[in-house]
């Protein structure tokens, strides 16, 4: 690894930005196929109702309309599957109700797909949808966890009594109970993790086509994982074999988890295209995105921490209720379990940890992964609780954390994970220094002189990225493997195409993966192109989520490059008339060890494709594929510090400083890492201070547009101080960990801890997310009686 101007560790400008910044990206909605029709999805306006009947005749007679299909037309087509089977405490499998792509008999949330209207133009389809007459017979709705678990609550599914999907646990309950019996202190907390709307800048879209000449279906869709869509749509919904179903996820404008799931619309479009023999295109409007993109978070938790007299953590007991929405989305069931409960050791040596999670169906949009997916929920709860413990025990907030840090690695937690490496003191020290933690009191006094309340908050956290290995996740209920594939094709004249099963929708893979390959092969950065997002081009792939792409996908590419080099050595040995064992490869040259006899990668590649003078028995060509199944998760960690200033008159919270000190493993491209950290921080700050998806009791979405749903804007954010201390992951060759979710995991508790710190002088000791001005004002008013 040469670390040259474009190699590993260099802030290379992103290859993909030329097309994005000049408007030449090719997104799904940019694709138009000859003869295409437009589909409009008619969505339920009510949260829960029996469908008495649907009269499509007026819509069918409207101008330009080709077809109107409802759930009855699709009856018999497989339902939308979920990807992870969770078992309850008693060993019973979760309740897994059918999810028809188009509602059949009942609608279960505002936004549920009821019909597709297909017409010559988008406008005709939309207008005609107004003419579809649906007889909704309203049923009582359950729009929250509280409503779902209430006595006599309406049932979202008959087969799920009490609206419970599963009642899961992890950790040793008896050991945890024992820890509490021996505790000098017990500190308890109740927290809500607010429901969020993902809000990728590109709304979902799809265009499906059926080619009768080849019997092949093609679906262009806004997906983070096209192969996963092919697997679910092909094998489970439509019954199509892989070689007759091509999924293309071209340029995708942000996902944040909301483009992981296989959505009903993808099945409806593909099925409709087959029925009509014409391409059918659908683009979601923003107002429909609010009520049909999977939402995130939505937990209610209570937890208690047992401590000894010195503030050492003895045990942690967490009880969480999670809202899964109306149907089980692809990763819905694992997010509040295996991406949540196993995080509760955090960076601490707590010897006994127990977490139980009961998940509920409600008449709301299905909930799935959202940037961090389970880990922000766990980190928020733990770091709020640790702060509260420090306050109640009269301990310093930093000291209590330091007292409990894991320092010996590998470290086996009591909740399944084994941390391979880390240095939590180093990132803590870095953050304290960079945030001038020690100088805070002077800043607080300066704010007070202006009538403002200043507060500072901290969170120390770990995250688990690149969920793996496949055998383990399989034993925990995953219905897919979690490996990745990478192919490296060295062309005859030495340029390189790299094929990855991950998908870039903002992450910059086309740049970082090219940096790795050009660095390893010693070829020009510009001679390497990265191909992703097309099931017809990529051998296989599990896609991009959970900060897995570099650690898992990047490693697969690394291993494929090693195979290329290995084969190259054989060809070079032949050309140089030396033995393979004596061939060394460095900076693009194969050299006979200890001599100046060498040949270039270009010569070797040309020889591989024009094998006139070639090793006997060796296949021509220079292209290798590797599948990589990691041995473990990776464990990024860090410390985040937030500083706020509160206007006590209005309750407004101004975020005045944000400091991150992160260990994300080896950094391939510092500029892209900084961008990921900035984006994640903005996302986490949005959750902490602004974003909240609110349902009315009747299941109507009260925050259904940007009139009511607050996204963070640039002007809301201070400059971020980003700092790194790197320890290398021990179980992948690049030593990489993951960075995409760091901000949304680490910063929310730091922000809320800062708000509470600011308000403590007024007697406020609790604050819910988001800490809106109204919520802060109410807390101040309550505290002041």
């Amino acid at each position: 690894m040469s670390g040259n101007g474009t190699g590993i560790g260099a802030s290379v400008k992103r290859k993909e930005d030329t097309r994005f910044l000049t408007g030449r990206g090719r997104y799904t909605d940019d694709i138009n196929l000859p003869g295409q029709l437009y589909g409009h999805i008619l969505r339920s306006p009510v949260a829960h109702a029996d469908i008495g009947g649907i009269d499509t005749s007026a819509a069918m007679a409207a101008p330009g309309v080709h077809a109107v299909f409802t759930g009855k037309d699709m009856e018999g087509v497989g339902g939308i599957p979920t990807g992870w089977l969770i078992h309850s405490k008693d060993g019973s499998p979760m309740v897994e109700p059918a999810h028809p792509a188009l509602a059949l008999g009942k609608v279960r949330y505002v936004g549920d797909c009821v019909a597709i209207v297909v017409a010559e133009t988008r406008e005709q389809a939309k207008e005609a949808a107004n003419l579809v007459d649906v007889d909704y017979r309203d049923l009582p709705a359950v729009a929250s966890i509280e409503a779902a678990e209430a006595n006599g609550a309406a049932q979202v599914f008959d087969e799920a009594p009490g609206n419970v999907c599963y009642d899961w646990e992890v950790g040793d309950r008896a050991a945890t109970d024992a820890a509490f019996e021996n505790a000098a202190h017990v500190v308890s907390i109740d927290v809500v993790n607010n429901r969020l709307v993902p809000n990728a800048i590109e709304p979902r879209a799809a265009i499906a086509n059926f080619d009768p000449a080849t019997s092949e279906y093609t679906l262009y869709t806004t997906s983070q994982n096209p192969h996963l869509v092919r697997l679910l749509l092909g094998a489970f919904v439509l019954g199509l074999p892989e070689h007759k179903l091509r999924i293309v996820a071209p340029d995708v404008g942000g996902g944040f988890g909301s483009k992981i799931p296989h959505y009903a619309e993808e099945a409806i479009l593909t099925w409709t295209a087959g029925r009509l023999g014409r391409p059918v295109k659908w683009t979601c409007e923003r107002i429909d995105a609010f009520k049909s993109d999977t939402h995130g978070r939505d937990h209610i938790s209570t937890a208690k921490l047992a401590l000894d007299a010195d503030g050492k953590f003895l045990g942690l007991h967490v009880t969480t209720k999670a809202n899964l929405g109306a149907y089980l989305s692809t990763f819905a069931t694992c997010v509040p379990t295996y991406l949540y409960g196993i995080l509760f050791a955090g960076p601490y040596t707590t010897p006994a940890v127990y977490c139980e999670v009961k998940s509920f169906f409600t008449n709301t949009v299905p909930v799935d992964a959202l940037r961090g997916a389970g880990r922000p929920e766990a980190t928020y709860l733990l770091e709020r609780l640790v702060d509260k413990a420090a306050h109640e025990l009269g301990m310093d907030r930093v000291e209590i954390r330091r007292k409990n840090f894991v320092r010996e690695f590998p470290y086996q937690t009591p909740v399944a994970l084994q941390y391979d490496q880390g240095d939590y003191d180093a990132t803590l020290d870095l953050a304290l220094d960079a945030s001038d933690w020690a100088g805070f009191e002077a800043r607080r006094a300066e704010s007070a002189a202006r009538g403002k309340l200043r507060g500072i908050g901290i969170s120390t956290f770990i995250e688990a990225c690149g969920i793996a290995p496949s055998a383990v996740v399989g034993s925990l209920g995953a219905r897919a493997g979690l490996y990745e594939s990478g192919s490296v094709r060295v062309h005859p004249t030495g340029s390189v195409s790299v094929f990855t099963g991950t998908h870039s929708h903002g992450q910059g893979h086309e740049t970082t993966f090219a940096q790795i390959v050009s660095d390893m092969l010693g070829v020009d950065f510009d001679a390497v192109d990265v191909v992703h997002g097309d099931s017809a081009k990529i051998p296989f792939g599990m896609g991009t989520y959970g900060s897995r792409s570099l650690a898992v996908g990047g490693t697969a590419i690394y291993l494929a490059v090693e195979k290329v080099i290995e084969k190259g050595r054989k060809i070079a040995a032949h050309l140089l008339e030396a033995s393979v064992e004596d061939i060394e490869f460095e900076n693009g040259s194969f050299t006979v060890a200890g001599t100046d006899r060498s040949t270039s990668l270009g010569e070797v590649a040309l020889t591989a494709y024009v094998p006139h003078n070639y090793p006997e028995g060796l296949e021509p060509g220079l292209e290798e594929t590797a599948f990589y199944d990691p041995l473990n998760f990776t464990f990024p960690a860090g410390t985040h510090v937030a500083e706020v200033e509160v206007d006590p008159e209005t309750g407004e919270v101004e975020l005045v400083a944000v400091t991150g000190a992160d260990d994300v493993g080896r950094v391939i491209n510092p500029m892209i890492v900084a961008g990921q950290l900035h984006g994640g921080l903005a996302h986490g700050i949005g959750q902490a201070l602004m974003e909240e998806c609110v349902y009315q009791d009747d299941g109507q979405l009260a925050t259904g547009s940007y009139l009511d749903y607050t996204m963070p804007r640039a002007a809301d954010l201070p400059n971020f101080s980003i700092n790194h201390n790197t320890t290398l992951c021990t179980h992948n060759p690049l030593g990489v960990k993951g960075v995409g979710e760091v901000g949304s995991i680490g910063i929310p508790p730091a922000v809320i801890n800062a708000v509470i710190d600011a308000l403590r002088p007024l007697g406020v000791n609790d604050m819910a997310m988001p800490a809106t001005s109204q919520r802060v004002w109410q807390a101040i008013r309550q505290a002041q009686g």
Partner: protein, 264 residues
């Protein structure tokens, strides 16, 4: 969105003629009208654009008043040297409407005609005692803003300008909805020929209103302290996810105090 006929008249008379059609509607910046049309909440048969009608986007200094043409965008008002020199509070108010895109599309005439209860202009008009000038008459702002989305405008009547008396001092303080940037509580305080006026937008379900108790107190003593102790009732206040009625009422009092303080 329904189909409609688009008219692009080049004189006010042509515009008025086109507005004679049943179901016709004026479009200025379109920033309020087009979104509701997209949601099928309004379905005009004819849209009559004022964009090509000359003379509707001028700003004139009339000595004791400033006249702003109805088609002036918020950005135009915010950037006007005349407005800045004579009524700087109006500059600041216009500069704080929505975001840059909104300010470059939305117009004063459209905002006033729409009379959105959370729009900023109604507070400015009422506090400054503005006169709404139409193709056929002049309407004092006290008579113009008749409650949420309600004005005395006839269906085919066109606002041509708004005339603001120049105050001796004025200031606008707004607490914006963090999502939409509409006013949750916007208070314009002005002292002018007609005395002290305190007009509030964004807070009440009835649209812009005046706070008599504050006006009286400021008439006695024009200072932030004079209004600091005056509470505003939450009766009739709007309530949504961002701000309930009590919080809104509280914010009205705080914004009023800050507006007075900013008057200097």
């Amino acid at each position: 969105m329904n189909d409609f006929t688009y008219h692009a008249p080049t004189t006010l008379n042509e515009a008025l003629a086109a507005l004679g059609a049943e179901g016709a509607k004026v479009i200025a910046g379109g920033h309020s009208l087009l979104p509701v049309m997209k949601l099928n909440l309004a379905a005009p048969t004819d849209l009559v654009s004022l964009a090509g009608v000359p003379g509707l986007a001028d700003i004139a200094d009339g000595g004791d008043s400033v006249t702003v043409g109805a088609m002036c965008t918020h950005a135009q008002v915010a950037g006007s040297a005349i407005v800045q020199a004579r009524i700087p509070a109006l500059t600041a108010m216009a500069d704080g409407i929505g975001d840059a895109q909104v300010r470059n599309a939305g117009t004063i005439g459209g905002s006033v005609a729409h009379n959105d209860p959370a729009a900023d202009y109604p507070a400015a008009c009422v506090a400054l005692g503005a006169t709404i000038v139409t193709d056929r008459r002049e309407i004092h702002s006290d008579d113009f803003f008749q409650g949420m989305f309600m004005t005395p405008l006839e269906d085919d009547e066109v606002i041509t300008a708004v005339r603001f008396p120049v105050p001796s001092r004025a200031s606008y303080a707004k607490f914006a909805n963090p999502a939409s940037k509409y006013a949750i509580a916007g208070v314009m305080v002005a002292q002018g020929p007609a005395g002290v006026r305190v007009a509030v937008t964004g807070a009440s379900g009835d649209g812009v209103f005046r706070v008599g108790e504050m006006e009286a107190a400021l008439g006695e003593s024009f200072s932030a302290e004079a209004v600091a102790g005056i509470a505003v009732s939450s009766d009739g206040m709007l309530s949504d996810t961002a701000a309930g009625a009590q919080y809104r009422a509280h914010l009205v009092a705080v914004m009023a105090k800050r507006a007075v303080a900013a008057c200097g």
